[in-house]
Every structure is written in C-alpha cells, then in structure tokens.
C-alpha cells in the first residue's frame, strides 16, 4: 500500500502562502481530515493518485483564510502551540543565518567567558577552606610602616605573647627549614617542610587519616622527641601507601624522625607542604628581632576579626615601648585565612570577575540592539500578520520565543565553550593559583548563565515586541511611517552608549594594568642574569663532635667548605663561565639586624642602632648575576675564616651611612647565629656583646631586596666562607641551559651525593613569575577590553547605519532645502561623537566607582591615572567614530530627489 501523501506539508504550505503559520494542532486536524478523504476514496476503489487528487480538491476548494483568526485560539496540546511558535522562530533563523550566528557567537563568547571566570572565582575565592569553621581562622603577620612592610614573618617570642591574647582560642606557628629526605635505596628528595608547634592540626581542625598525629597535651612548644607527620602525596608516591609507615623513622637532613601520622589527601597546609615536623625548641627563648615564623590563629568564641586586630595592635604598641630594642617600629596584623591564602589572586580574580561581568552586559546590550533593529525592520510583516488576524499575544509570543531560542543557543554555546576551555585554562595558567586545579564548571555558573538567559530573553523579546505592538495598534498599515522609530532610537542609543561606557571602563582598567606591569618590568633590579640558572642546595647537617661551641663551629666550618667545594667543582665543569651562591635572591629581603659603623659613637640605647639587611654571598656571585661593582673589590676565595672579616655594602647603605667616605671603613655587627640556618664564623662566642668588626671592601650597585617597585633597603653582604648558611641558592652562568644543568648535577654528585637536586630554573623565568599574575591579568583584561571595544564599535555602526536608513527621507529633504552633503555627513558624525562622549563619561564614572577594587591590583599607578584614562578613551573614541563613518558616507550620498518621491 502506498503511503498517503504528505498532507501536513500541503496544509502548512497553504497557510504560509497566505502569510500565516498555521499552528501544528490545526495542521494536524486538517491533514487528518484529508487523510480520511483519501482513504475513503481508496476504499471506494480509486487508484492512489486519483484518491490523493480527490482529497486535495477539498483543500484547493477552500481558502484557509477563515481559519486564521482561530489559529491561536483553538485548544491544542500546550506543547504543540509552543512547538509551532518555536518552529516558526527557528524557520526565521534559517532564512537569516548570519544574523542568528552573530547573536549566538556574541552571546556564546560573553556567556562562555563569564561561566569560565565565575567557575574559577567560585572554586578559588568563594568555596570555604576545608578546615573546621574556616572563617574563624586568621593568619598573623608583622608590619613595619617605616620600612613599608605589611606582610612580614613574625618573631617566635612575640608570637607567644600574641597567642596568650583572649581574642584567640589557640594559635600555632611554624617556620620553613630546608629539608632533604634520604632513604636507603631511594634518591634523596628535597621535601617542602615546616617545623611547627604541635597544635597546628588542632587549630585547623583537621586530623590525620592514619596514625594519631602529634600528641595533644603536655608542653606544646618544647618537646625533644623527634616526630613528624607526612602528606598523603608523599606517603603514596614514595612509600607506596604502606600503612606500616606509622612508627617508622625517616631521615631528614640525616636526623631520624618518627612518623606519627599521614594527613588526608590534598592537605598541604600552609601551601605545598609534605612534611610537618614538630617544633623542638623553645620559642620563648628565641629573639624578638628575628622575623621568620608564620602563624595561624583561631578566633575565640564571640571574638571578631576587628577585635583581634585591635588586641594585637595594642599588644604591638606596648611591645614597641617595653621591648623597644627589638620591636620599635614593628606591629602586627591579622588577615582572614582565605584572604591571606589567596593574596593577590583574590583582588585579581575579583577584578577579572567584574570585567567579565561588564563584557557579558556589553554582549547582551549588543544582541538586544541587534534584535531591536531586526524586529523593527519586520514591522510590515507583523502588520500583515495582524491584519490576517494574528493576536498581539501571538506576535509577542513568537518574538519572545525567537529571542528565547537565540539566548538558549547562545548560553549553551557559552557553557559548552566553558566546559572545553576551563580545563585548558587550568592546565595552561603559568602561575600556581591556590585551589585552581579543583576548578570545574559549577552548577552555580550554569545557573548564573540560566539567569542571564532569562534576563536577556525579557530584554530582547519584550522591548521590541512591545514597541512593535504600539506601532501596530497606532498606525496599522496606513502608511510606511514608523511611529516606533523614535522611542526605538532612544532605547537603541541608550544601549549603545551603555556599551561604550562599559567598554571604556574595561579599556581603562586594562590600560592601568599595562602601566602597572610595564612599571614592574622596567623597575631596575640591579642584576643582568636572564639566562643564569638558579637552584637551591640544602646541605645535610654534618655530624660529629659534641654540642659544645668548638664542635658547633667546626661543623659550620664544614658546611662552608662543602658549599665552596660544590662551587669550585661547578666552575671546573666544561661550559661553565662562572658560578656563585647566596642565601637570598634579588627581590627577597635578607635578615634585618642592627649594626654600627666602626669608630662612630655607640648610641646611648642599643635599640637606637641602625638596622640593615644582611645577606651572605659567595665569591663569583655578583659576577654571575651581572651585578655592578661601583667601588672596591668583590669577594675572593681568600676571604676565609682565617682572613680578615670583610663585607660589601650596597649603594643605598653607602649613601645613607658612609656619606661618600668609602675607603678604610668598617662596621660592627652582633648577628652571630641565625637560628639553625647559619652561623657567623668570625664571631667570638665568648664575647657576644662587643660584636664583630668587618672591613668594608666594596660597594655594589643596588640589587632589589624588597618587592618590585619599592625602594632598595641598605644591605650588607657577608662572604659565604665567613658567614655560611646551610641552605643556599646556587647560580650558574653556562654556555647553555643543558650544559649548566649537567654541570650542577655533576658537581653535586661529586661533592655531596646525598644532597638532592632541586628545581633548576633561569633567573629570567623566576623574575617573570614574580609578575606573572599581573601580566596574566593584564592580558586577559586586554583581550576583554579589545572585545568590548569591538562590540561597542559594532553597536555604534549598527545604530547609525540603521538610523540613517530610517532618516533617508529627512536627510533628502534637508539636502533639497540646501544642506550640503558634507553638512549632512557631519550631522551624523556629530551625533556619534555626542553619544560616544556620553558613553566615555559614564565609563569614567564606572572606573571611579571600581577604584577601590582596582587599586588592590595596581602598583605604582593609581586608578585615576590620567595617561591610562586618556589613552584608553582616545582609542575607544577613534574606534567608535570610525564605526559611524560608513553611515555618514551613506548619508552624504542620499539623493535629494528621494525626499520628494519617497512614499
């Protein structure tokens, strides 16, 4: 049996030929009727062709026009009515694919960018930390306004005072020793370690997954028993997740520690730690002047972070007086743990979030104006449909569904793009953003995208539809006059001005970041060592001898010798031009300790002694780093413990304390031992009070020793052979990176086979990482800003093309009445300039409102920076004015005769 002909298609085509989309339910019913006729004819013995003819005659014999008024009112299944309208909407897009594509692309880009950034912000900033009541946790940092320090490590002694404040229920502190882990049969490994007070895990409210952890109770801060907790990562990668790890002894720097716990997966507090050793020395017996510890505290019940801040400040002020020798100028502050963990990332992500929000709004405005013009250009079509009996509700429904289809498609494209892009962003981000690795497109992002869809649908669908209805009800088909054009133009202009304003804000923000990053990158740091390789070497504590001073000094002499041997071996490797070592790299602050210029009167009070940063460097270090020696000599291999004590100072030191007289000067220091880190071998342990005298043999050009863009502090450099540290940075200048790497490996293997090879990187790369976040933020904002500017320009172009097309007749009349073509073109450009200027001013207001957020990601430039504002505005002004030129040109070409002829 032949299948019946496609009566549905025929009925639908019949509807379309009269300009009506018959609803599905109606099509269905009519087609059923035709099928019945067809079957009846077949049953009566007609051949299929004739039967179809007979059925068709019923359709041909009547116009569907009487049905049109009922089209929307019959009661089809609800879904069918919606489907019909939706199908009609989709048919529209098939006829205008470019339009639909542009809308979906613009929406997809904006929604995709927004969903991606929102997912990242959600994971990194908004999600609470995985600790017990994480919002009650704060970190404590030292501040020193005089030195411009706002985030410095704290002193162990002062910490013990702070811990006693009633605003805290408890507090834990730690420092970061360099630790090598050695196991028989395994390669030595450098492990990220903190030595922490035993209450750290209690303060955080996190327990080990295996083992008992540090025993609670008993004295928290002085325990001689050597115990450690390790991370899940270390336990799995190095010990194959062996449960018998508990109770086993691990050798850290050659000293056995008993494992008492394995932390849960992903726990690496405070940042990327694999080993937590329990503190084994008395924090109250250290120095208030030594700032090398970090701390986390839990707020007491009922205490606020502001109260904690007030309490810690008043303690600080009291110590400034009571302990003025060490604490003068110093105070402390508390920061919410999450805010502290995120540091610069938090404001950076929030700025990015704001930027992507602006971009999203621009995208929506752009699409809204596109839909507005398109809807208005269809007013004839709508008039015909209304004349055919379509109800206003039907027309609004269709326009609404059209925009709904577009926004759903756009949002889906955006979400799909975000799903594809987010893993790439996570993988390719050049910096270690805390928690970024956990970022996944979140349901909240999807919900937000849904909200955007809802909002845009209302905006896109309803405004043009309502405008149209007003026109239709008012003017019907009477003339081609477009009563809606005036209010439409007003709405359109507002949308475009809004786009310009938001684009302006984005461009100014990216210009500010360009200035920030430019400033950062061009700050002189006093070294020229982009290709110099950098790594760290932590010497395992050398054993032998007793605890007496003589054996201690002997052991430290061995540390100094071993470091010197590694460097010597390194310099002898093929392809190595020079090598050196230092305990701090450029941009890192050294230990700040008191000193005096020898021969100058001692101040009455010790606390009035000046302070300077103290660094230790080896011979060859300044040369390898390309530092500039401005006076005297550098260190040599003869500056040993047996020779005269010597130092080099930086220019900041020389100009502040030496007043131009350089030769034959000496200074006195009291820094004899930096905890377990380093020891001044020139010091006389029997007489720590008179200090040690060092001769100043050279002045080096300032090497940055605080953050980028901050003034260099006075610094004193000691020779590594006289003031050794167990952990040093090794720097190597070699013919190429591979050669340098091989040389470091060979030297370590020969001299210290038990010392693991740490990461090797070039100084240039390390320096870039310092500014990587700001640079990344700059690139993203620049991309957003460029996109925003482009969208704004497209908006301006669309607006003026449309309005010139609408006003052809008016322009023609103007020309007939004697206006020059130039004048008419100028009119368009003037209107464009006015609109853009309004947008720019609004954009400056937005930047002004966002200034406090912006300031937190800017260095050396303020949010009201005139250059950035001017340049960004000028770029946008030029781009948008260029965008209205085609319309102006078209206006100039209008034929005056048109004014007499048109309609």
């Amino acid at each position: 049996m032949n299948p019946p002909p496609d009566f549905r298609g025929e009925v639908r085509r019949r509807g379309s030929s009269t300009g009506t989309d018959l609803p599905d339910a109606m099509v269905e019913e009519l087609a059923q009727h035709l099928e019945d006729l067809y079957e009846a004819a077949l049953a009566a013995g007609a051949p299929p062709g004739a039967a179809a003819q007979q059925a068709r005659r019923a359709l041909d014999g009547s116009s569907v026009t009487p049905l049109v008024p009922h089209a929307a009112r019959i009661a089809p299944p609800q879904s069918l009515a919606a489907m019909t309208a939706l199908r009609a909407a989709l048919r529209q897009f098939r006829h205008h694919p470019a339009f639909a594509l542009i809308v979906v692309i613009v929406l997809g880009l904006s929604v995709g960018a927004a969903a991606t950034v929102f997912s990242i912000v959600d994971t990194v900033v908004l999600r609470p930390l995985p600790y017990r009541a994480p919002d009650r946790l704060v970190t404590i940092w030292d501040t020193n306004a005089e030195k411009g320090l706002s985030h410095d490590p704290i002193s162990p002694v002062t910490f013990m005072d702070q811990r006693g404040l009633p605003v805290f229920s408890d507090a834990a502190a730690w420092w970061r020793p360099g630790v090598n882990l050695t196991d028989p049969g395994l390669d030595p490994l450098r492990v990220q370690t903190i030595e922490t007070s035993g209450n750290l895990f209690d303060v955080l409210g996190v327990g080990p997954q295996l083992g008992a952890g540090f025993p609670s109770g008993g004295p928290l801060f002085v325990q001689k028993e050597l115990i450690t907790v390790i991370s899940d990562r270390l336990w799995r990668t190095r010990y194959g997740a062996d449960p018998s790890i508990i109770g086993r002894q691990l050798l850290f720097n050659g000293t056995p520690y008993t494992v008492v716990g394995v932390m849960p997966p992903k726990f690496h507090y405070p940042d990327d730690i694999d080993v937590w050793q329990r503190l084994q020395w008395d924090m109250t017996q250290h120095s208030r002047a030594a700032h090398f510890m970090e701390a986390v505290a839990r707020l007491a019940d009922g205490a606020t972070i502001q109260q904690a801040q007030a309490a810690i400040e008043s303690l600080g002020s009291r110590l400034q007086v009571d302990e003025s020798r060490t604490n003068a100028g110093w105070n402390s502050r508390v920061i919410a743990l999450l805010e502290d963990a995120l540091g610069y990332y938090r404001p950076a992500l929030m700025v990015l979030f704001g930027a992507v929000g602006l971009l999203l709004v621009i995208g929506i405005f752009n699409v809204a104006s596109l839909l507005l013009t398109r809807a208005l250009s269809r007013d004839r079509e709508m008039a015909v449909r209304m004349a055919m009996g379509a109800s206003p509700r039907q027309i609004v429904t269709q326009l609404f569904l059209e925009s709904l289809a577009l926004s759903v498609a756009g949002a889906m494209a955006g979400i799909v793009a975000s799903l594809a892009v987010l893993p790439l962003v996570v993988a390719l981000t050049p910096v270690e953003v805390p928690r970024l690795a956990d970022a996944a497109v979140s349901w909240r992002a999807v919900a937000a995208a849904g909200g955007v869809v809802a909002a845009t649908t209302l905006l896109f669908g309803l405004i043009p539809a309502l405008l149209l209805l007003r026109t239709q009800l008012g003017t019907q088909l009477r003339s081609g006059e477009r009563g809606s054009s005036r209010s439409a133009r007003r709405i359109y202009s507002a949308l475009v001005a809004g786009e310009v304003a938001l684009a302006c804000a984005l461009l100014v923000a990216s210009a500010l970041l360009i200035r920030t990053v430019g400033g950062m990158m061009s700050t002189p740091i006093g070294v020229a060592a982009d290709d110099t390789l950098v790594t760290t070497v932590q010497l395992t504590q050398l054993r032998g001898g007793g605890a007496d001073v003589a054996s201690l000094l002997k052991r430290w002499q061995q540390v100094a010798d071993q470091h010197a041997q590694i460097l010597d071996r390194l310099r002898n490797q093929p392809g190595v031009a020079s090598a050196g070592a230092a305990n701090f790299l450029p941009l890192d602050a050294g230990w700040r300790n008191p000193f005096t210029i020898d021969g100058e009167a001692m101040p009455a009070r010790r606390e009035d002694l000046p302070q300077a940063q103290m660094h230790t460097i080896s011979e060859g270090y300044l040369e390898t780093m390309g530092a500039r020696l401005v006076h005297g000599r550098a260190f040599s291999s003869f500056d040993t413990t047996d020779a005269t004590g010597v130092v080099i100072v930086n220019e900041a030191f020389a100009s502040r304390f030496l007043g131009g007289r350089l030769d034959g000067r000496a200074l006195r220091v009291w820094a004899t031992s930096i905890g377990p880190l380093g020891v001044n071998l020139k010091a006389n342990p029997a007489d720590v009070h008179s200090g040690v005298v060092f001769e100043i043999v050279g002045v080096v050009g300032d090497i940055a020793n605080v953050g980028l863009g901050q003034p260099v502090e006075p610094a004193i450099y000691f020779p590594a052979r006289q003031f050794p540290f167990s952990e040093q940075f090794i720097v190597v200048k070699a013919s190429d990176a591979g050669t340098g790497l091989a040389a470091i490996r060979a030297a370590l293997r020969d001299v210290a086979p038990n010392v693991p090879m740490a990461n090797v990187d070039s100084w240039g790369r390390r320096f870039e990482r310092r500014s990587a976040v700001a640079r990344m933020l700059m690139s993203v904002l620049l991309a957003f800003g460029g996109l925003a500017g482009l969208l704004a320009a497209i908006g301006v172009y669309g607006l003026f093309s449309w309005s010139v097309a609408l006003r052809r007749r008016e322009l023609a009349i103007r020309l007939t009445l004697g206006a020059s073509p130039g004048g008419v073109g100028g009119l368009v450009v003037r209107q464009g300039a006015l609109l853009v200027t309004i947008g720019l001013i609004a954009g400056w207001v937005i930047v002004r409102l966002a200034a406090s957020a912006l300031t937190r990601v800017l260095f050396g430039v303020t949010a009201s920076d005139l250059t950035a504002t001017f340049v960004a505005s000028a770029v946008l002004l030029l781009a948008t004015l260029a965008a209205c030129l085609p319309a102006a040109a078209r206006a100039m070409r209008v034929d005056p005769v048109e004014g007499l002829r048109a309609e």
């Binding site: 339910a25 269905e28 009727h33 359709l59 009487p66 049905l67 299944p77």
Partner: protein
C-alpha cells in the same frame, strides 16, 4: 438592497451551519471528518461545507463555549480531535431549533415552501 439580502442569507446560512453541527454533536461525539460525512449523507448532498468553513465553524463554536474539542487517542487508530456539545451548546441548540421551526412554519405558511419530508 441586494447587499442586504445577500448578507441576510449569509447569516441565515451561518446560523444553519451552527444548527447542523450542534444537532449532530447532540447525538454523540464526532470528529471533523465524521461530521462532514454525516451532514453530507443526511442532507443527501444538498449541504456541503468546505474544509475551511467546517473547521472555522467548529473553532468559532468552540471559542463561544458551545462545543469542546479534545484530542483522543484510541488503540489502533490515529489521534483525532473529537468534539462534544456543552451545556450552553444544548441550550443554544434548543433555541436555534425553536427559531428555525418558527421560520420554517413561516416559510410554509407564508411562502408556500413545502418541507422536503412532507413529500414522502
């Protein structure tokens, strides 16, 4: 005058169409095709609806609440839209019938028109 006459006839026809449909639906639920078939056979072919006018009438009656259409799916059959007369439809039918009866009486008595069934 002619125009007036024709429109009077049109509205009479429209009224009669409503009457036919309501009367048939009063006997039971029917879908559009069955309706048209019944009208055709009962009037012995003297009254036919075009496709559009049949459904336009149905939709109009439905909009006025005199009948109600419903999609019905029966096993082994196509899904069809069946119409059922409503209470107000029945009242309307009754009043239509009365009007037409009066009208026909007038035709018979005044114009000498003979009802078709009187021939048999």
């Amino acid at each position: 005058m002619e125009i007036l006459d024709r429109s009077a006839l049109d509205s009479a026809k429209k009224g009669s169409a409503d009457l036919f449909i309501l009367a048939l639906l009063d006997e039971g639920d029917l879908h559009g095709y069955d309706l048209s078939r019944h009208i055709d056979t009962r009037s012995r072919g003297s009254i036919t609806f075009t496709l559009a006018s049949l459904y336009a009438t149905l939709y109009r009656l439905e909009e006025r609440g005199l009948i109600r259409g419903r999609w019905v799916e029966r096993a082994g059959q196509r899904r069809r839209r069946y119409y059922r007369i409503t209470e107000s439809g029945r009242r309307m039918l009754a009043s239509h019938r009365e009007d037409w009866a009066r009208f026909i009486r007038a035709l018979v008595e005044v114009a000498g028109v003979k009802p078709a069934w009187s021939r048999t």
